[in-house]
């Protein structure tokens, strides 16, 4: 059984890459091509589920590939945090593919084959990141992810796309090369290992000044976590087609970022050491500042996708806060928020895309009364917003709750205040959209009756994700268990 | 007290004259000539090294035991050949430059190129 689990683990990474080949080959025939994508998605998701059960049974699943550099192996292993990420990513890839089929056709984009191909590569590297057995492996696929998403961001090939892609690539690559890589080499030099350990890799008597500096390098280096001042790439990436923005910039890429942050803080430094470090506090405030500022910027955005982007920036701040709180509840909250926000935000993006396709509207100011035209979409939007804000019946409630608890444990009263204030801000910039959409419009009564929703595929997809938000609220148990297992199950993480 | 070194000092001066011509002059042929002088002075330096007071040319003859050091001679024979090879090539390129640019003055060539690109 265990062996087959290991092969599954590898397949999760390899299949999408193989799918790329299939996609390119079948590129001539769109139906076949998308069939390939969906089937791969299904299989991968199935495997992840299996792995989840394996993990639940307490089996230690890990795979060693060859040594890239002496002592630095490409290795993969299953541990709770990665499992959360993998579950979300594989599930949402499936739904996004469904959505994309509707969207790309409805919006008749060009070069769809290239689109799906790079999409698959991106997912493959996300899986690799989720299951990465050591920081080195994680870094490598982190870079692969950056590069494979560049063509997706610049998909349209317009001048705007070029500019966006430029910002996207330059920020992500430069942060990762200058800070992240430096931090990794430093860690490797000081600690002599890059394995993930439940209580960190540094000796307790490590020079806190240096290690603190390394922490700073990490937090800045993981540009995908979009901590200010390195957040600009996220709004810039909104030039991409909506499915890309939805999956990559609500789930895959950004979550890869905060996921890495969590991994590093929890399993490279370890929360005990983290509490000692001189720089933690400052970074915590930086994250808090990011949360607030991003929310404020979001309020001023009239372009829907831009507003969502900034809201993402601020939401990512939550996870980083959770990671830096250096308390178990913080980690739990943070990792749960990955899932909650993923579902919420992807739904919002789906809606944005649907609106673009169906009503061809991008500006919020134009959306007055849109609710009568696309009721389902707008309803979904409403629910998802609740989840993001963190009130029932949205799953976001739980994660925010644990973050608050965490900040209380750590006696970070300012942080607590920030969390509360920013929730209010969320309300301020999200709820108006659906509400205005349902306001009566007098000027053109004709619009009231004609219902014109997005293509069916897209509609289905966004219903699924909306359901996801609610389900996670009603039934968060398994997620919670996984999250709380991150720190509690060292033996799995140790098993290398 | 360093009188014993006068020879080397002369050589150094010669070298530097040649070196200066190479780097300071704009005319390509003159540069090559400078290079020649520079190298020839280096040859003189080597030969001076090989010289021994009262020694004779390193061709074995009965009754003479004190010869000057043959090794530097050999090296310099080689070096002279290298020198002429370089000179020939340099001049050849200079001729082509003359054909292509119409003159062999450094600045003017530079200017033409800058105008092009």
């Amino acid at each position: 059984m265990s062996t087959s689990l290991e092969s599954m683990l590898q397949l999760c990474i390899i299949l999408p890459l193989l799918a790329t080949v299939g996609i390119v080959v079948t590129g001539r025939n769109p139906n076949l091509r998308e069939a390939v994508t969906i089937v791969t998605g299904l299989v991968v998701f199935y495997f992840v589920i299996q792995l989840y059960y394996g993990l639940d049974r307490g089996e230690s699943i890990n795979v060693q590939w060859w040594q890239l550099l002496p002592g630095l192996q490409l290795s993969f292993t299953i541990e709770p945090l990665g499992m959360i990420f993998a579950l979300i990513a594989s599930f949402l890839w499936l739904t996004t593919t469904v959505y994309a089929i509707g969207y790309m056709r409805g919006h008749n984009e060009k070069n769809q084959t290239r689109f799906y191909a790079f999409f698959a590569i991106a997912i493959g590297s996300v899986m690799a990141i989720a299951f990465a057995g050591n920081l080195f492996t994680l870094f490598i696929f982190y870079e692969v992810l950056t590069l494979s998403t560049y063509p997706l961001v610049t998909h349209t090939g317009t001048e705007a796309a070029k500019k966006g892609g430029r910002i996207y690539l330059s920020i992500l690559l430069s942060t990762s090369i200058v800070f992240f890589l430096l931090a990794i080499v430093g860690t490797w030099f000081i600690a002599g290992t890059l394995e993930f350990r439940a209580n960190g890799v540094f000796e307790p008597n490590a020079n806190t000044a240096v290690v603190g500096a390394i922490l700073v390098l990490f937090i800045f280096g993981i540009g995908k976590a979009a901590i200010m001042p390195f957040h600009r790439w996220l709004p810039a990436a909104m030039v991409a087609p909506t499915p890309v923005s939805a999956l990559l910039h609500a789930v895959a890429v950004v979550k890869a970022g905060v996921f890495t942050v969590l991994k590093v803080t929890a399993l490279i430094f370890g929360i005990d050491l983290l509490r000692e470090l001189p720089t933690t506090q400052a970074l915590l405030y930086l994250a808090a500042a990011t949360v607030l500022l991003a929310s404020m910027v979001a309020m001023r955005q009239d372009n829907l996708k831009a507003r969502l982007a900034y809201s993402t920036v601020s939401q990512l701040g939550y996870v980083t806060i959770g990671a830096l709180l250096a308390s178990s509840s913080g980690v739990i909250g943070g990792s749960m928020h990955i899932a909650m926000h993923a579902f919420g935000k992807i739904t919002l993006f789906f809606c944005a895309g649907a609106i673009l396709v169906a009503a061809n509207k991008t500006q919020i100011s134009q959306m007055r009364g849109l609710g009568y035209q696309m009721p389902i979409t707008m309803a979904a939007f409403f629910v998802a917003s609740l989840s993001i804000i963190g009130v029932p019946p949205g799953g976001g409630t739980w994660s925010k709750w644990y973050l608050l608890v965490g900040s209380m444990e750590a006696q970070q009263w300012t942080i607590m205040a920030v969390l509360l204030v920013s929730s209010l801000l969320n309300i301020a910039y999200l709820l108006p959209i659906p509400i205005r959409a349902f306001l009566p419009v007098r000027q053109n009564p004709s619009a009231r009756f004609t219902i014109k929703e997005a293509p069916l595929a897209s509609l289905i997809a966004l219903c699924i994700t909306t359901a996801g938000c609610v389900v996670l609220f009603v039934y968060p148990q398994p997620l919670y268990e996984l999250a709380s297992a991150i720190l509690a199950k060292p033996e799995i993480i140790h098993a290398q | 007290m360093f009188l014993g070194l006068y020879n080397y000092w002369i050589v150094v001066v010669l070298m530097m004259i040649g070196f200066y011509i190479v780097i300071a002059h704009g005319n390509l042929v003159k540069k090559i000539i400078g290079l020649n002088i520079f190298q020839t002075s280096v040859f003189i330096f080597y030969i001076s090294v090989s010289n021994i007071d009262g020694g004779t040319a390193p061709i074995l003859v009965e009754g003479i035991s004190r010869y000057s050091n043959p090794l530097p001679h050999v090296l310099i024979l080689t070096a002279i050949v290298v020198g002429i090879a370089t000179t020939a090539l340099g001049l050849a390129i200079a001729m082509r430059i003359k054909e292509a640019y119409g003159n062999i003055e450094e600045e003017e060539i530079q200017q033409r190129d800058n105008r092009e690109c």
């Binding site: 890239l68 430029r166 430069s174 090369i177 430093g186 | 190298q39 280096v42 290298v82 292509a100």
Partner: protein, 492 residues
Amino acid sequence: MLAHLPVLQVIVPLLAAPSCIILRRPGWVWLFALLVSGSAFLISIALLQQVADAGVVVYELGGWEAPWGIEYRIDILNAFLALIITGISTIVLLAAHTSIQEEIPEDRHTLFYVLYLLSLAGMLGIVTTGDAFNVFVFLEISSLSAYSLIALGRDRRALWASYQYLIMGSIGATFILIGIGLMYQMTGTLNMEDLSRRLPEVAQTRTVFTAFAFLIVGICLKLALFPLHLWLPNAYAYAPSIVTTFLAATATKVALYMLIRFTYSVFGGSFSFTTLPLQTLFVVLGLLGVLIASITAIYQKNIKHLFAYSSVAQIGYMIVGYSISTTAGLMATLLHMFNHALMKGALFLALGAVMYRVGSVQLRDFHGLGRQMPFTMAAIVAGSLSLIGVPLTVGFVSKWYLVLAAIENGWWPVAVLILLGSLLAIVYTWRIVEAAYFKVPQAGNEQVREAPLAYLIPVWMLVSANIYFGIDTRLSLQVATSAAQSLFGVGP
């Protein structure tokens, strides 16, 4: 015959060159040259094996034992260099026949191959010999042929570039000659091994110091170490593509080899780096080279110029690693020698393909090439990623070890600057990518087709080497490490 490998390594191409004159017919000559280079490659592999098993291999030319005669003394470093040079030259030659059809007049083809083989032989001679003066002789062989090869370029600026190179090179060579002369005067020997034994006695004399200084400056001129790099960009930009590729991938490596050999083996690391402020000097120059050259590269319109400047920058990296003067640093440098040969080989050869189809390598000529020459452009992108140092490429490996070495020495700022350098690499390479994929072809370039296989095959051989040695680093690492260790074994 195995005993003769060291000398065969050099004389095979050396004697093949005149034979080409007899062969005359360009087609035949090409095949012959390819054959020769290929066999030289095999020899170098065998030699590497031999050295790996037996340690240092000594070969006395003319049967006269050193220091009276000239000896070849092959340790792992020499074999490593020979491997790089012959390997690159062979792959490059694959494309030569096609490439020079466009870039060199018909009646010059035979001569081209003669010169090519001569410069190959010259470089091999430098990296195999154990005699200081012999280095000078073969240096001249390789340089003279290089000057002529560059002058064969179509553009008339090639002539001017070649002339400048000739002047600079000859000054450098003369400096080296002076250095050798002074060393001989103080020690009475020309054999490196012997020198390393006899120099310490006189190490404190002003004469030896001067000799050292002249050698270093002379070599650095050849090495195009910033700020002595002025000859390099034009030489690379206007030479025929094949020549550019070959020189860019090998010539500077050979110069660097000379630097390493003289500082570590002959004078000994302790003399070179402790009694003189060489270390600080080289680190500063290296880093300046990295940054300034990279920044200059950003503003180039001619892509060959661009990558030429990036070569200067890469030399900067190697010098930094070299001047860290620890085993780790030296190892990083040697590794980067190898890796950089692969990157630049791939990049310049791909540029050659563009040259072949488009007829120019100005940035504006790359517009739309992403669609017209997909494979060539993919190769350029891959090469650029390697240059930037993205994981799974060789560039990443050498960067990793360079940074690691810097950090081991506690040189955090240096490490940061090294990484900043690779950011600049992103900037200047991505300009090409954007031009190729986001722009529509220039007027007149709409009909450009993909490069012929004669180009694509060697280009992709190099690209896949870039990726392969970025994933399976055992070979390159092992060789580089043992070479570095052997150097520290040799040097006191």
